[in-house]
Amino acid sequence: MHPVAVMTYRQALHDTLREELLRDEDVYLMGEEIGVFEGSYKITAGLLAEFGPKRVIDTPISEEGFVGAAIGAAMLGLRPIVEIMTINFSILALDQLVNHGAKIYGMFGGQTPVPMVLRTPGGGGQQLAATHSQNLEVWYAHVPGFKVVVPSTPADARGLLRSAVRDNDPVIFIENLALYNTKGEVPDGDYTTELGRAEVVKEGGDLTIVAYSRMAKIALDLANRLEDEEGISAEVVDLRSLRPLDRETVVASVRRTNRAVVMEEDWLSYGVGAELAATIQEGAFDYLDAPVRRVAAAEVPLPYAKPMELAALPNADHLTRVIHETLDVSGAR
């Protein structure tokens, strides 16, 4: 196995961008305030100084324009990595992304791939209120033609970003504001993490928790604690990719554990949990000992006031309660 280093999610992203810029002349970065300002969240710190303005491009505040320009450049074979300051602003580029980026390869009969990456952080909990705290990954995960990845660890951030940059399709790479400072072990070397594959990050026999991005970290931390403190053996599946969705790994896990809880930071209705609950009843109906439960955000424009924000966003306490209820209802506790 490769030696490992401990680094933050931010550092993993930064280093990967730098390495991909060094590896391939066709790779360049563009986005608002990523160069001189070094990025709103400093993921691109130092890269303008090292690579110059041809490779690290500060754009006007024109999301539709520069995201579309990245798609157009990708059609000619370049490999742009676009940063959208937060996922909330990506809505301004939806036409270019959904009506064009996701369609161009198929709609024109496979003549022109669109090898671009759109990096953007989602997530709430920073008292940024309703317009700056959203999780809109489901909007993108809904659309055929995109690949949508949601890394939860520095190691996956690195491996998935490498895969995304080297992939020939538009990849929506969704980070999470609250993960930037989290640390984890990152293998050395030029490894990649396969797109479209979930990972069982903790094995267990009592129930399956399915989560992604920041919620996968919360789920794994909680599962380890519950095992130590209460003897509950929870299996944790980190989806890593929302499109394609690795239904097989989820179903296989639930067939082993007979119970499932899905946790997401996004709003409840029409979410990843709904999609997985449907998948689990299709693939593991006869194996289920309890209804599939979902832990998701309250469906409100997220308020600024801290007690309200805390109440609205899913956390380990919510997940603990639902795990207990799922085990209780099936007489397993």
Partner: protein, 359 residues
């Protein structure tokens, strides 16, 4: 940064020189080629009306009827290596960029031999080899893409030029403004062309644009711009050439406006009741195809017999195109999921309606 707004004709037909003068310095063979392409476009679109009414062509179908001088003039200004992005009214551009009529017609028929392999239809023609980089059916959608293509050319140090065609309604989209700004800021080799056919779907330019002289929009970006009579093929070509040369030699963008006339409704099924009879008659009286033919005959470039021969030849080509499209196979349903991704990926969905998502 001076805007190159020379006093171009403000109205169609104004300032037309005498035919013989206008052809000074032109090669007769080239003029005949232009006419043949215009006639091909004219007859192709007229065949489309008929084939649409016979349900051989589905979806929406927008025609270039009346815009032939603009289309052929613009394409004459491009080199084969130059890229073209258009909107959804683009059959003529595909033909004038050199794509065989049969492959265009096959696309309209939804056949596997179509330029977009039957995936795109009338509004989404694409041909990598001809560098027709797509017809785009969301108004303004092609502008950021074309701008990015021009950026890619600069990035790689190439000498190609991008032409980005759009209709008059497009100038009021955000994408138009965002991209003209970026193109000038980054000095991109691109020619934005507004084909002002005086009407959106049914909305007059004056009712949609506070500055109805659309080429003036470029002022806000210190971008060179010109307006040209879209019924005058040679004027369109020469104006476009200046812009293309500026893009290629100086890596500078230009905004062109070609004032043209849409002979029919917005699409095949639109009877265009929102236009007055006088307006339509006035537009048709300036039919650029008829006018160009008359000028060629008057100048002695073409004789009546040659015209008849050329037009019969076009008829034959079109019939072959229709026959080719007719005889071509449909794409197979087994290919349905093949073009979703360029890089194969684990767990890509392949469920047809009614299939379980998981199996």
């Amino acid at each position: 940064m001076a805007t190159d707004q020379k006093p171009a004709p403000r109205r169609r037909g104004q300032g037309t020189k005498r035919a013989a003068d206008a052809f000074a310095g032109e090669k007769p063979g080239t003029l005949v080629d232009y006419y043949r392409t215009m006639w091909l476009l004219r007859r192709f679109e007229e065949r489309c009306v008929e084939l649409y009414q016979r349900a051989r062509i589905g979806g929406y179908c927008h025609l270039n009827l009346g815009e032939e001088a603009t289309v052929v003039g613009l394409m004459a200004a491009l080199e084969p290596r130059d890229y073209l992005f258009t909107n959804y009214r683009e059959h003529g551009y595909a033909l004038a960029k050199g794509i065989e009529a049969g492959r265009v017609m096959a696309e309209l028929f939804g056949k596997a031999t179509g330029v977009s392999r039957g995936r795109g239809g009338s509004m989404h023609l694409f041909d990598a080899e001809a560098r027709l980089m797509g017809g785009y059916a969301i108004v303004g959608g092609q502008i950021p893409l074309a701008t990015g293509a021009a950026h890619a050319i600069v990035y790689r140090g190439g000498d190609e030029v991008v032409m980005c065609q759009m209709g008059d309604g497009t100038v009021n989209t955000g994408a138009f403004h965002e991209c003209l700004n970026m193109a000038q800021l980054w000095k991109l080799p691109i020619v934005y062309v507004i084909v002002n056919n005086l009407t959106g779907m049914g909305t007059k330019v004056e009712a949609a644009s506070a500055e109805p002289e659309l080429y003036r929009r470029a002022c806000a970006y210190r971008m060179a711009s010109e307006r040209v009579d879209g019924n005058d093929l040679l004027a369109v070509r020469d104006t476009a050439r200046r812009a293309v040369d500026r893009a290629r030699a100086e890596s500078q963008p230009t905004l062109l406006e070609a004032v043209s006339f849409r002979m029919r409704g917005h699409s095949v099924v639109d009877p265009a009741r929102y236009r007055s009879k006088e307006e339509v008659e006035q537009g048709r009286a300036q039919d650029p195809v008829v006018a160009f033919r008359a000028r060629l005959i008057a100048a002695g470039v073409l004789g009546e017999a040659e015209v008849a021969e050329l037009e019969a030849d076009v008829e034959k080509e079109l019939q072959q195109a229709v026959d080719f499209a007719d005889a071509s196979p449909d794409p197979t349903v087994e290919e349905l999921f093949d073009d979703v991704y360029a890089s194969p990926v684990a767990n890509a969905p392949r469920a047809l309606p009614g299939d379980p998502a998981w199996r």
